[in-house]
């Protein structure tokens, strides 16, 4: 059913008893044109755009847990397109533009809030890098502003301007960046895909990939074999495990990233702010909790939980950047499994195996990419060629020597 102010009004007087399920719970059919493995943000968005933009309707999304049980439901909800390298920037800007129309597109309020992101810089070298990145954004037509210390003081008076180990010199602002309600993104795409006839199959774990003459013909699952013409992997941190079922070894290492939320507070932080002398980033959810995180724990992990030392380090950076956080209490910590790639950038590509398509390597930045990832993956699956903004995101870029390394740290995934 369509959501509107009127539907809410009507339902209110019907005791809210007339709302219908947001999606069906279909039993798997024996065959689909496309099966997407992974009912997270990217998998659901892929299904939605395949059906909506590319006319393929006979689609299943198979999910081992519940819809949105992966990283789309355990991130810090930041959406931005402030990248430097030409392989990345147009892709993320395309994504941001999709975000800007997403609520109307999906008839679902994902609470995309363009409150602006500010990256702080603390020394001349960092400022120069930010200027290079800001100019790269402007080359792509993406707005960026360089803020000096004085204007930052007016905007964000609570920052530590006087007693920081690495004094804040200024910041790079992208006004159109912001946050969104993460679960709602999964639910909105799920509902949208379902309305276009996509079968969303929960509690259905892929246990094997069936191939004939090398080509993929379907998947073995905990709910039986399901055949398909094309198989698309959007399994984030579990990509390597699913890929291995088809004999694929990938440039991916799975790592755990922690995120945190504080007790609810009245509005006190109005932007997304990132710390340049570390990895800390923070914003305030509409519910009032301060949502924040920093770097990955650093070791290979498939456990959705982190360690205390990293959490402490995150807090040290947080209090150093915003001393007033000191008395704020942290409510909850959680962890997500990140598909860290060898250059810190994602992969949307075909694989050497016929009928098998790959979407992975999102590191800790997959949330913002959700719409574009889905759109471009759908484009690739439907048309057999990359969308023009995703052309650089190839699987063979490593062996061919075209890495997209925003951090400039090389092939060590835990440093990206």
């Amino acid at each position: 059913m369509r959501y509107s102010a009127l539907s809410i009004f009507k339902q209110a007087f019907a005791g809210n008893l007339g709302w219908t399920p947001a999606w069906r719970e279909p039993a798997p059919k024996s065959h689909y044109d496309v099966i997407i493995v992974g009912g997270g943000g990217h998998g659901l968005a892929t299904a939605y755009y395949l059906a909506r933009e590319f006319g393929i309707r006979n689609i299943a999304v198979v999910e081992k847990g519940y819809l949105g049980s992966g990283n789309v439901g355990r991130n810090t909800t930041i959406v931005r397109s402030n990248y430097m390298l030409p392989g990345n920037e147009p892709f993320y800007e395309f994504s941001l533009k999709l975000w800007e129309g997403l609520e109307q597109e999906l008839n679902y309020n994902v609470m995309f809030s363009q409150r602006g992101i500010i990256n702080l810089y603390h020394n001349d070298g960092q400022r120069d890098q930010y200027i290079r990145r800001g100019n790269a954004m402007m080359m792509e037509g993406v707005g960026a502003e360089l803020l000096d210390r004085e204007s930052l003081k007016k905007m964000l008076p609570f920052l530590n301007f006087e007693h920081a180990r690495f004094p804040i010199m200024g910041g790079l602002l992208q006004k159109r960046a912001g946050t969104a309600r993460h679960d709602a993104v999964a639910w909105g795409f799920a509902r949208g895909a379902d309305r276009l006839g996509v079968d969303l199959i929960q509690n259905c774990e892929v246990t094997g990939i069936r191939r004939e003459n090398g080509a993929v013909t379907g998947v073995e699952t905990t709910r039986g074999f399901i055949g398909c013409n094309k198989l698309a992997l959007a399994a984030a941190g579990n990509t390597s495990r699913v890929g291995e079922m088809a004999g694929l070894k990938l440039p991916i290492e799975s790592h755990v990233l922690q995120a945190f939320v504080t007790e609810g507070l009245k509005p006190c932080i109005d932007h997304v702010i990132t710390y340049g002398a570390g990895h800390f980033y923070i914003s305030q959810s509409d519910k009032g909790g301060l949502v924040f995180g920093a770097e990955i724990d650093g070791y290979s992990s498939y456990a959705q939980r982190g360690n205390l030392a990293t959490a402490e380090h995150v807090m040290e950076e947080g209090v150093t950047m915003i001393p007033g956080l000191s008395r704020v209490r942290v409510l909850r910590a959680w962890g997500g499994v990140m598909d860290m790639s060898m250059d810190g950038s994602p992969i949307i590509d075909r694989t050497p195996i016929e009928n098998l398509y790959l979407n992975c390597g999102w590191c800790y930045g997959g949330f913002k990419a959700t719409p574009a990832s889905g759109f471009c993956f759908a484009h690739l699956i439907a048309k057999g060629e990359s969308h023009h903004v995703a052309r650089a995101l190839r699987l063979d870029r490593f062996e061919r020597g075209f890495p997209i390394d925003e951090a400039g740290v090389g092939t060590q995934p835990n440093l990206h």
């Binding site: 070894k249 991916i252 992990s301 030392a309």
Partner: protein, 91 residues
Amino acid sequence: MASLISCPHCGTRAKEEFFIRGDATPVRPAPMAGDDMWNDYVHVRANPRGRIREYWQHVAGCRRWLVVERDNFTHEVFSVSDAAAGRGGER
């Protein structure tokens, strides 16, 4: 694992004393090995869930590179050994 590592040289130490590099399985190919082998070595990771071997350096302690064998889902550690041990390295 995520909290403590038992260094074979220094004893049980907090995670903060270590620098982690990643998968300890790939072996550096011979200089003239094929392109595929070199690409695999530098870029490709098996990345299984379960028992793995990983390089940790005890940077704040003895500065030795260690191989930590552990489960990356339960975070149980099975063994920690000096990376040079058994590889012809003299100490």
